[in-house]
């Protein structure tokens, strides 16, 4: 990091605020009318220096928070993606999109089967095929029900983390971390400063840790539906009858071709029901449980994070009072 980069946000604002604090300390010292008040100003200046150093350092602390978080998670035996504070909303949005995509694809497929079944079922000849497709929709909904629940819980978490990430991102970018330390110096703003500082100290580490954990969860288990469909496709790629049916529609519009492909794959999957059931159960259950477990862990960690914030805010306020309170000599 070059010296000039120290002047950019968020370091710049931290150093500026620290500079203002020091200048204010000096102004008080030089403007003190009596020797007693001058001694008071000297006493106060020690505190101001500590405050200025902390103010300047907190932006740096916020920037290394994600790597501290990743190390803590690593020490607990969990590997997480290292996400910078300002990147959290972007990463969470990406995860939300992925999970929502899976959820929608699942619902659309179930609906498509049901609708195709209803349409085909109108004709007497294709009534069994219509019935098969209609109940295929039920099959899909039943086996994917726990996974869909886990996806909804994950979506909620990604939204909450993105919102918190947005707040923390702004705090980091606009030097609110440094400002919160500066707010500890005057007694009138000490309480809000303590809360802000506590929130920033805790969540600079915790939020990237949790967001990284959520990201790893989504990357590993958020696309189980696609993996499942791909597995069926792969399994059916050697089925000659299915390939013949698909080849009939080679010149059809792409949407129809895709629809026929999916239908053919699922119908082929049903022919080897035993394989389909075993494969689905293993794939979907592992993903579902890990997503659910992760969601609960995230909820608990965030709750504890807020509890620690409240505890630390008290401590910071008391510490700041001890450090920065002007003693009248």
């Amino acid at each position: 990091m070059g010296v000039t980069s120290l002047l950019t946000l968020p370091y710049g604002i931290g150093i500026t605020i620290a500079g203002v604090e020091l200048a204010w300390g000096l102004v008080k010292y030089y403007l003190a009318p009596t020797p007693g008040q001058r001694r008071e100003a000297v006493e106060e200046f020690y505190g101001v220096v500590i405050g200025a150093v902390l103010t300047a350092v907190v932006a740096y602390y916020m920037s290394i928070g994600p790597s501290i978080g990743a190390k803590i998670a690593g020490a607990m035996g969990v590997s997480v993606t290292q996400v910078q504070l300002s990147d959290i909303p972007k990463v969470m949005y990406f995860d939300f999109n992925l999970v929502m995509g899976q959820y929608i694809a699942n619902q659309v497929l179930a609906f498509a089967f049901s609708a195709a079944g209803a349409i085909l079922g109108v004709t007497q000849v294709l009534k069994p095929v219509g019935a098969l497709l209609g109940s295929l929709s039920g099959f899909l909904s039943a086996i994917m029900a726990p996974y869909n629940r886990a996806l909804i819980a994950t979506m909620m978490n990604t939204i909450a983390l993105a919102a918190l990430g947005q707040v923390m991102g702004y705090m980091y970018n606009y030097g609110i971390g440094s400002l919160s330390i500066a707010l500890l110096l005057p007694s009138r703003t000490r309480r809000i400063g303590a809360w802000l500082a506590s929130f920033i100290i805790v969540f600079s580490i915790l939020l990237p840790l949790v967001a990284g954990y959520q990201d790893v969860l989504v990357s590993n288990y958020g696309n189980v539906f696609t993996m499942w469909v791909n597995t069926i496709e792969q399994h059916c790629s050697n089925n000659s009858i299915m390939q013949t049916i698909i080849s009939i529609f080679l010149n059809a519009p792409s949407w129809l071709k895709n629809a026929i492909n999916i239908l053919a794959d699922f119908v082929c999957g049903i022919t080897s029901l035993q394989w389909l059931v075993t494969n689905t159960a293993t794939l979907v259950s592992t993903g579902t449980f890990n997503l659910l477990e992760g969601d609960i862990i995230i909820d608990i960690i965030m709750g504890i994070g807020f509890a620690i914030t409240a505890w630390l805010a008290d401590l910071i306020e008391a510490g700041a009072r001890a450090l920065f309170e002007v003693r009248h000599l």
């Binding site: 803590i72 020490a75 607990m76 035996g77 969990v78 590997s79 079922g121 069994p128 095929v129 219509g130 019935a131 098969l132 209609g134 109940s135 039920g138 099959f139 039943a142 086996i143 029900a145 726990p146 790893v216 009858i241 119908v267 082929c268 049903i270 022919t271 029901l273 035993q274 059931v277 075993t278 689905t280 159960a281 293993t282 979907v284 259950s285 592992t286 579902t288 449980f289 890990n290 659910l292 477990e293 992760g294 969601d295 609960i296 862990i297 608990i300 504890i304 509890a307 620690i308 409240a310 505890w311 630390l312 805010a313 008290d314 401590l315 008391a318 510490g319 001890a322 450090l323 003693r327």
Partner: protein
């Protein structure tokens, strides 16, 4: 992404020691020495809380050195996997049922069965998800458990602040709820897996079998995968991984001679089609059937003419009467009785084996879905060998109809359908009286956790006074010692 519980334990110990070291150093150096403030009370609280932390950690460390030691968390994936298997097979049952019932426009039957299956899947899904979530919660709490002493001791260090109260709540809740939820998890897991085991399908493959029947109808066909009634051609659902063989064919409670041939499927647009079963069945001899539009009421047959005089004759008038003149005829009959205006010799016989009828093993409320079956035993039937002799006279032999043999199968309750329809009963067996225990267990865990947590929060100031006294004893013991040591130090 498994948690390393031992690392968490050591992390908690190191964090606690570091936090208290920094806090005590801050109190002594910054507040005490630099600012010259009176820190005695805060120091007592801090040292007391630190001592409490060390005591708590030394109690739980041997317990947790091989975490999870409280109760090993069961596998949540396994629960969901079992759910998925049962839900998938039940859904496949719906598929074959739709294939059987839609072409014959039995929509109501399909939707009723679909409703039954959906309720089983819904209940099971809820149970499996609840179990998986409680397991996940327990696993998360196990990771948090080693940190509980840290939270409690941090709260004790500063007992009168809102943050301290929150930390006390979190710490106590974790300390109390973890073993209780561990116990609850084992209970819930056992119940869920018990239900899953009872419901578990015998096979994961389902097929539709075409049955072509040649013989008197309606016949009751008993197979290795269940019973059904047929009049000709129909489809039955079967387990694909078990061979189907015919064990008995009955008509009018009479056991028929039969042969059957399973034919493998040719190419079929219906992918679940598992082939055709061709059954030929007949009585040991051709029979005249007593029958009207409501059903079958018996059978009889002139086995042979024993004597024949000049101009002797004999022929059936209708399905209950036979005319003879100048003949002695031996009849076999399966009717309620026989009468004639000539001499009759009646002997009871058991030339054709009879059987008792039992329909599919489903709950009585689902019987309308599967169809109707004949009564289990014939009423007033006798199997007879009758010798009728009419010399120089005309004789009409009248056979009296027995009870009605009738029935038809809407949905064959064979193989997977029989299993699916037994599902609700199995659910009840699986859950048995244990569900009450689960409710009580949930309530107990909730009440104990909330009560202990609230009590702990209310008693926080008093417990803190106790730990502060402990801190005072330690500080007052160390202070003179520190005085002596500092005298001996050269700096």
């Amino acid at each position: 992404m498994a948690m390393n519980y031992t690392n968490i334990l050591w992390g908690s110990l190191v964090s606690g020691v570091s936090l208290f070291a920094v806090y005590i150093a801050y109190l002594v150096v910054v507040k005490g020495r630099l600012r010259g403030m009176n820190v005695t009370r805060e120091l007592y609280s801090a040292v007391g809380a630190f001592t409490a932390f060390i005591i708590m950690m030394s109690i739980i460390t041997p317990l947790l050195s091989h975490l999870p030691s409280l109760a090993k968390p069961p596998s949540g994936s396994w629960v969901l996997e079992q759910y998925d298997i049962i839900a998938a097979v039940l859904s496949a049952v719906k598929m074959v049922t739709a294939l059987i019932l839609f072409p014959i426009e039995e929509f109501t039957t399909y939707y009723s069965l679909s409703g039954v299956i959906n309720s089983i899947i819904g209940f099971l899904g809820g149970l499996a998800t609840l179990t998986a979530m409680v397991i996940a919660l327990y696993k998360a709490l196990l990771a948090l458990f080693p940190l509980a002493p840290l939270f409690i001791s941090l709260a004790l260090a500063r007992p009168n602040k809102p943050g301290g109260i929150v930390l006390m709540g979190v710490g106590l809740m974790t300390l109390v709820a973890t073993p209780l939820i561990g116990w609850l998890v084992s209970l819930l897991y056992n119940i869920t897996m018990g239900v899953m085991a009872v419901l578990s399908p015998p096979c994961l493959d389902i097929k539709l079998l075409g049955v072509v029947y040649f013989g008197p109808g309606p016949a009751l066909v008993t197979t290795s995968q269940g019973v059904f009634m047929t009049n000709g051609t129909r489809y039955i659902p079967i387990w694909g991984c078990e061979r189907v063989y015919v064990t008995q064919v009955a008509w009018d409670w009479l056991v028929l001679n039969y042969t059957y041939t399973p034919l493998p499927p040719g190419f079929s647009i219906i992918p679940l089609y598992g082939g055709t079963l061709v059954i030929y069945a007949q009585l040991p001899f051709p029979a005249m059937v007593i029958e009207n539009s409501t059903g079958v009421y018996g059978a009889w047959f002139p086995l042979r003419v024993l004597r024949y005089w000049a101009n002797g004759t004999g022929y059936p008038i209708n399905d209950t009467a036979f005319y003879i003149r100048n003949e002695s005829v031996l009849f076999w009959a399966w009717t309620s009785g026989v009468k004639a205006n000539c001499s009759l010799t009646v002997n009871e016989t058991s030339m054709v084996k009879t059987t008792l009828v039992s329909g599919p093993l489903v709950l009585p409320i689902y019987a309308p879905l599967t169809g109707t079956y004949p009564p289990s035993a014939p009423m007033g039937y006798r199997q007879m060998l009758i010798n009728a002799t009419a010399y120089n006279e005309s004789c009409i032999i009248v056979f009296k109809p027995g009870s009605r043999w009738s029935g038809y199968t809407v949905l064959p309750a064979t193989g997977p359908v029989e299993w699916a329809l037994a599902g609700p009963l199995n659910l009840i067996i699986g859950l048995n009286s244990q569900w009450g225990n689960v409710e009580t267990a949930f309530m107990t865990v909730g009440i104990i956790t909330v009560a202990v947590t609230l009590l702990g929060i209310l008693l926080l100031p008093y417990i803190a006074i106790g730990t502060a006294y402990l801190g005072a004893i330690i500080v007052e013991f160390i202070s003179p010692l520190w005085g002596v040591i500092s005298q001996l130090l050269p700096f």
